[in-house]
Symmetry: C2
Amino acid sequence: MKVVLYELVGKDDHRFSPYAWRSRLALAHKGLEATYEPCRLTDKDKIAFSQQERVPVLKDGDTVVPDSWAIACYLEDHYPDRPSLFGGPVGRGVARVVNAAADTQLIPAMARLILGDVFATIDPADREYFRKTREPRFGVTIEAIAAGRDSQRQPWLNALGPFRLVLKEQPFLSGTAPAYADYILFGTFQWARCTSPYPLLDRDDPIYAWREKMLDLFGGMGRKAKGYPVG
Amino acid sequence: MKVVLYELVGKDDHRFSPYAWRSRLALAHKGLEATYEPCRLTDKDKIAFSQQERVPVLKDGDTVVPDSWAIACYLEDHYPDRPSLFGGPVGRGVARVVNAAADTQLIPAMARLILGDVFATIDPADREYFRKTREPRFGVTIEAIAAGRDSQRQPWLNALGPFRLVLKEQPFLSGTAPAYADYILFGTFQWARCTSPYPLLDRDDPIYAWREKMLDLFGGMGRKAKGYPVG
């Protein structure tokens, strides 16, 4: 039986959640076939079985796992004979630092560049909910964020500093081959790729070359996603 | 034959380098006895054998290794049968992200709180060199940094955000037991402990409790260091 990932969907079937992308890559890394069940932000009924209100949610037989970090840990523990996402308990511990840095630093910094485009990409039925929940986080309107984004590109590039330094020295965050820490960072970039044409990286940035390699993984899974091929 | 770590020394034998502390803990983790050779910032002759000008430098028989990250990798590769610093290649890859975050985000943020105290702790013979090399990095005098530090405490606490989030959920950055990623963050705190009484953390911060555990490791190695017991 295939596992099912319930994930955010926008208009025209854009699948842009940075968290769902972490889970998508983790499933592919484990070689698990999955079906993807689209949910709008306001489709809370569709995931009521998970007893919480946020996607992604993984359903594997009778097991229900919400939250991308918990999903990665579940896959690692439940499918231990398949390629490891963390390379062991120390690697899992430290990957959580990358997860927390993406959640608290990278996603907010990226939001200041693409939130207007994300708003334009969500399903029209979700717009009111999106505005009501997101604007208080930033203290300004979505339109004000969109208008000011050019001034926020340098802070975004600065927030990537540690990742850039590492990718100058080694091919992937996880060393010589990609693993979950890479999927965390890549998921963040897929959020943009699937919603926004805004240029997020300079071509000579080591992160740009890494992202190209990540887009090629698993038969070009990330590259084929509905979105904007540059940026 | 014991390994030798050449490390920075201040006045009254204060050993405060955040990078040397990473190496000190790594040596203890590997169960290696070491001697510590103090070097002032301007004692470039003393480490001329390493063909570069920065401490820490590790000397293990005929092998000479400068740079704390390279030292950790050397110890891991050369003493593979002793407790692992990284838990494997994926863990090593991802620990480098923590290393880069400490170097580019945490140390500069902490410097804005303690640089005046560091200046007061270095050997008087190093003061001119220290001022000449550090002030251009900040674009202001050491005294101006010291005078403005209270306004920089919140940015420092914000920079710790990802680490705080992780340490709310698990005992160490490396999972259930400390490893090199923890030594990186702890080394940063030892820089402050050995130079400054400034309070860096609130007592209810999960990082505070983690730091207490780290101070107890290896017979209280960090706690016994010459410095300031609170902060």
